[in-house]
């Protein structure tokens, strides 16, 4: 039997050891429902297994924070296009090839991960999508099935909400002409293709241009619009937590990769790699996907996804990567956007100033 003072001393020593020896892992992520899911599926289990705390900071996804010298977080959660740009600028550490763990059945990671998931500086863990969602009560007797229906205001009348950016909108507009997904970026590279796409966007009678991600579910639930583009996780959240009567149109969803990366000035790169290996294991990815409907980047994890822990909803049907949902998915040409984005933005804004502004909810019309 150990005496009481010694026990207190021992406890104190342990506490001192965990704080002094184990500096917490500092993770940069997006906050909100997404961070809650990560906390439950990744951060807490990691602390449990390694005894190391995880300290989460939030950011807006931009690279400015990374460019500063004090960017000494250990791990960053970022989109693949941003990670590719940061990697080119030398802001990230290259990842070793053997970083991701093999699947439980021994399948090597290279074959288990989806194509393009294992990058030089970033490892994709989940895939989210920009999709169109619609109010179920808006079109009695029929429902939209193709992205062209977004632009068909005769069969599906009512105002729309679209993100105030050329990306995704241009693709959808050109697709509505019957263009094949493989041909999208070749055709959008011509003045004729851009004109056709903007013509189609301009044909919409009433468009709200949203900027913040939570605007579009709100516009839908408040019946401001009947169809809106947005992130599939946000729409899911609106259905689960607010009981919104909306449904996702998966055709022409634009998928993006969400990755883990290690910044150049990370203080604990070894621990960061250990965390990434842990967080991208099949089991953890499946657990994360039970809490937020983002598709796991591993095939073995996709098979293990089960139900939402609170609502018992089968989460597989809500993944962008589910075979039923991704039959019409667009693969975003990130190289193309990397070199055209600023010009496209200018072009789009100039067009908006002339035509789309009249119905924009965000700002008054500049005189043309």
């Amino acid at each position: 039997m150990v005496s009481r003072p010694i026990a207190v001393l021992l406890l104190g020593l342990t506490a001192w050891a965990t704080t002094a020896l184990a500096e917490p892992l500092r993770v940069l992520s997006w906050g909100g429902a997404y961070e809650r899911a990560q906390r439950e599926a990744l951060f807490d289990p990691f602390t449990e297994q390694t005894g190391r705390d995880v300290e989460v900071h939030q950011y807006d996804g931009g690279l400015d924070a990374l460019r500063r010298a004090e960017a000494d977080w250990d791990v960053i959660d970022m989109t693949r296009s941003q990670a590719m740009a940061a990697c080119r600028e030398g802001l990230l550490q290259p990842l070793p090839h053997n970083l991701p763990a093999p699947a439980p059945d021994g399948t090597p990671a290279e074959r288990d991960f989806l194509p393009g998931a294992i990058g030089e500086c970033a490892l994709t863990h989940s895939i989210f999508a920009t999709v169109v969602a619609y109010r179920r009560d808006a079109f009695p007797g029929r429902r939209p099935t193709r992205i062209a229906d977004l632009f068909d205001q005769q069969r599906f009348p009512g105002p729309r909400a679209l993100q105030r950016t050329p990306a995704v909108n241009l693709e959808w507009a050109l697709l509505s002409y019957g263009v094949a997904r493989e041909e999208l970026y070749r055709l959008l590279s011509t003045p004729r293709g851009l004109r056709l796409a903007l013509d189609r966007l301009g044909e919409l009678e009433e468009t709200h241009w949203w900027e913040a991600g939570d605007e579009s579910p709100r516009l839908l639930t408040e019946s401001e619009v009947v169809m809106a583009s947005g992130y599939n996780g946000r729409f899911f959240d609106a259905v689960i937590n607010q009981g919104a009567d909306i449904e996702i149109l998966w055709d022409a969803q634009v998928q993006e990769h969400e990755t883990w990366a290690i910044p150049r000035h990370a203080r604990q790169p070894d621990k960061a790699r250990e965390f990434i290996r842990f967080a991208t294991s099949t089991e953890r990815l499946a657990e994360l996907a039970r809490r937020i409907p983002y598709g796991p980047a591993r095939r073995s994890a996709i098979l293990q996804v089960t139900t939402h822990p609170d609502s018992d909803l089968d989460m597989r049907l809500h993944m962008p990567t589910h075979p039923l949902n991704d039959a019409g998915a667009i693969v975003k040409d990130e190289d193309w956007y990397a070199s055209t984005r600023s010009r496209l933005d200018d072009y789009f804004e100039a067009w908006l100033a002339l035509r789309g502004c009249l119905i924009s909810v965000n700002e008054p019309c500049p005189s043309p």
Binding site: A180, E182, R186, L187, T190
Partner: protein
Amino acid sequence: MTPDSSLPGRGPLPLLRFLGLVLLGAAIGGVAALAATGFVRCVLWLNELLLISPRSRMMFDHSGALVAATVAVPTLGGLIVGHLHRHIPEGRPHTPADAIAAVQTRRGRLPARAGGITAVSAMISLGAGASVGQYGPLVHLGATLGSLGARLMRLGRSEDNITIACGVAAAIATAFNAPLAGIIFAHEVVLRHYALRAFAPIAAAAIVGHVIATQALAQGALFHVADTVVPRAWEFGLFVAIGGGGALVAGAYMHAILGVGRLAARLPLRPALRPALAGAMLGTLALWVPDILGMGQETLRFATIPGAFGGGELLLVLALKIAATALCLGMGFSGGVFSPALVIGTLFGALCGTLVASISGAPQETFIFYAVCGMVAVTAPVIGAPLTSLLIVFELTGNYALTTAALASVTLASPIAAQLFGRSLFDIQLHGRGLDLSSGRGRALLMDTPVIDYLTQACVTLSPGISLDEAITTLARERHSEAYLVDEQGRYHGCVTLAELEAARQEAGGRRRTQACVDTRRPTLCRDSTLWEAMALLEEVTGEALAVVDEGVFRGVVYEVHIAHAYLHQSDALRREEHGHG
């Protein structure tokens, strides 16, 4: 005749040989498909690198440098191409027409060196944005590889023809990802007959090409068509009419190419520099109308979308694309005629569709039908392959309604164009080079065999001055019924027959000079005469032989029996090739 001899080619050995040929066909299909894949990838890569593809032009953010590149790239490409062509004996790139000629005359043996240089120069032409097609070079590359395979295996001419067709089928099957179209194209355009013996190796080659295409060349198809509505009944009448119009457009296109070729020959500019001039003109024009640059796949795609072009714009791009292609091909760029024809035809069909819509005021739901009908109506006459064009539409779209509409248009297009201009651009070109395929392969074969091959000096020649008695004695001694009068200088004076000599002796006595009874109606052949001409002469002449006379000098004779023999031999070879089983 015993039952065995009536069934030629049955037995284990011929079967093994036939299976060997099928395996060789598959192997050639694999090599040709890989070569085609490499070719297409290389062109795409060059287009990205040299700022020809719209995607690379869009991603390149320096407008001044882009303008300079637009003019400089085709010009420099033309310069390289022009200099490459100096290493080909004919001084021009080889085309599918050369492969057709080799098969139709049973020569086979396509030259590997010229084929290789042509493939490289076509790659550079296409890579540098010349307005030419990629399928012609692919077909010729496949044909050259096939012929090379037959030579490596030391096979005969007949097998050489089959392996050429195998290479062609594999190239088309790979490039379009359309194996049926590849098989039909090889039969319809290259072989021009159907034999089971050739079908199996060709089918094997096309299948291997198709498998490789789906595995290795994951590029998108030529065009994609979403679900279409079914056209109204009266529209089928319009599709037929588009066929008629398409034939005329095809004629204009073919004659523009040939016309620029003739003009270029008169230019005071070295042949090696002509493509560079064409490149400079093309690049300059492309600064205003970029649609004419390169193969024009984006233009093709837009032409199937209602409203992408205005009516006037369609007409302008159509005319400029014909002009640009004629300029590039006529001035000596290396490349095919098919891809530009696809663009031109689709623009023409779109123009018809726009016209119909503006007259009838109906919604343009069936616009794609007009575009595809125009496409088929122009391409089928140009390559002389209505069935292939239909199958390409079917295999690329999997859309039966669209294929029947294309059928309606090709019904009129191909015969009208064949009547007015010729079976295909290849046939017109070969006709210009002296090979007439309009009456089929048998005639082409005879026309390609020089009569000089059957020349012999084993005949009776007499001096024109000798008496009838002497002449008759000599003929009797030699057991011949005809003699040829040749003087000391070797000059030919005519032919005499024993019957005529006897008749003359009865009338005027034996001392008369032989020269007096020369048969003036007896025609002669010259050194360049073909077996076909000799056969034609035989229709009006009965006798022993025809004299071959070269600028008045007697060279020898060709016996009629040899001509008949040669004819039978050729027909027999053709019959065996076209109707043999294995």
